[in-house]
């Protein structure tokens, strides 16, 4: 595999002129993946921010072939597109899906699970902004603990979301998928490498990329990358790959103590007490204990 870099990926832009909010992480995830995959990528996007900001007829912001699917049907439409191109004798195409966290972990999980089971040759990318952003920030099963959304508001008794993030990466891996990875728009070269790697593996691939939403998270647009990086550095969003039946961490935890800054800097978490933050820290520590015990860790031969 040739590692994709700013110099060797195409100068072409395939997602351009879109109407995403300034500083939108999801739009960066779509733009960069298409620059790695190139012109022969056929994109499928369900209802969600990326289709809403990309297809405002007559402002059509994809330069490659791209289409909107039903909210639940990203993976099944991808299967149909792939079968159709194959039947027409086309070659060298890449079917790629870009679905949000709601479109993936809630309403689209059945179609995704079916596609993994059939092992269709395509790449499913979940851009995770941790809520239903296009409809004004409702909780999804990938919304983190404590986050205030319109359906998990902060009041006298409830202080934001009471459940934690569904572990989509390991749910997908448990299917025995050929390749799955977590990524982060704040570590863009790592994400590019994972997209390239996925494009060179046959069968079903899944990439789950954290993509902060300044509007829904309550951060300034220019802070988007900083917060994306903090999420991984503080240990809340570990970067890893599942490949050949094995989990491998892409990088270690940076600085566990910055979790507080990560939480305190975002409007959606501002109401959390020290005790709530302590709870988030202990959930993170439990997760890392499991990771340390069973995943390959860089610089260490055995778990």
């Amino acid at each position: 595999m040739i590692r994709p870099t700013a110099r060797n990926i195409t100068e072409d832009e395939y997602f351009f002129g879109h109407k995403a909010c300034a500083g939108c992480g999801g739009s960066l995830a779509v733009r960069i993946a298409l620059k790695v995959l190139g012109e022969r990528a056929v994109a499928v996007l369900p209802a969600g921010c990326m289709s809403a900001v990309g297809f405002n007829f007559p402002q059509l912001c994809f330069a490659n072939n791209a289409m909107i699917s039903t909210f639940a049907g990203t993976a099944s439409m991808m299967t149909g597109v792939e079968a159709g191109l194959r039947a027409r004798g086309e070659r060298d195409y890449q079917i790629v899906g870009f679905a949000g966290d709601g479109g993936t972990a809630d309403i689209g999980i059945q179609a995704l699970s079916g596609a993994i089971d059939r092992n269709d040759d395509m790449i499913y990318i979940c851009y995770d902004n941790e809520a239903y952003m296009n409809t004004g920030t409702q909780k999804s099963s990938l919304t983190p603990f404590g986050a205030s959304t319109t359906t998990t508001p902060v009041g006298g008794k409830i202080r934001g979301n009471v459940s934690g993030k569904k572990n989509m990466f390991e749910i997908v891996a448990a299917h025995g998928i050929p390749y799955a990875a977590t990524a982060n728009v704040g570590y863009i070269e790592d994400y590019m490498m994972k997209v390239r790697k996925a494009s060179e593996i046959r069968g079903m691939k899944y990439i789950h990329v954290l993509a902060p939403c300044p509007t829904g998270w309550g951060i300034r647009p220019e802070e988007m990358i900083e917060y994306a990086r903090m999420a991984t550095d503080c240990g809340l969003w570990p970067l890893a790959e599942y490949d050949g039946g094995e989990f491998r961490l892409s990088r270690g935890m940076g600085d566990p103590s910055i979790l507080r800054n990560y939480i305190k800097g975002q409007k959606r978490f501002r109401h959390l007490s020290d005790q709530d933050i302590g709870h988030i820290e202990s959930m993170r520590d439990a997760r890392w204990e499991k990771i340390g015990g069973s995943w390959k860790v860089p610089g260490r031969d055995r778990p």
């Binding site: 700013a6 110099r7 195409t10 100068e11 072409d12 832009e13 395939y14 997602f15 351009f16 002129g17 879109h18 109407k19 995403a20 300034a22 500083g23 939108c24 992480g25 739009s27 960066l28 733009r31 960069i32 012109e39 007829f57 007559p58 402002q59 059509l60 912001c61 994809f62 330069a63 490659n64 072939n65 791209a66 863009i188 070269e189 300034r220 647009p221 220019e222 802070e223 988007m224 990358i225 900083e226």
Partner: protein, 101 residues
């Protein structure tokens, strides 16, 4: 050679009542308006400080940093002024200026 990208068209498709296209498919990359009006600040590149590392190019969510003679420039028609490029540049080669108008 200019890169392939959705580009601004001189004609905006128009249909009278009942004359919409017979399918919902249309030409890819068809732009009819700029995004420059969203901006209240603009990134300004200081070419003497720019090393051409292309980090701003990679991280711009809108793809509006252009490679130019080993350095970079900004497509002000579509830049939204988010300021991500200025934060990414460790060489201090991008500053945000208030949009005058």
């Amino acid at each position: 050679m200019s890169a392939l990208r959705p580009c601004l068209r001189s004609t905006v498709p128009e249909w009278k009542n009942g004359e919409f296209p017979d399918s919902t498919a249309y030409e890819a990359g068809y732009l009819v308006h700029r995004n420059s009006g969203w901006r209240n600040r603009r990134p300004v590149i200081e070419p003497e400080l720019c090393t051409g590392c292309l980090q701003c190019y990679l991280y711009c969510p809108d793809g509006t940093i252009l490679k130019k003679d080993g350095k970079v420039s900004v497509d002000y028609d579509f830049c939204k002024g988010c300021g991500i490029c200025a934060g990414i540049c460790v060489h201090g080669a991008i500053r945000m200026e208030a949009e005058r108008q």
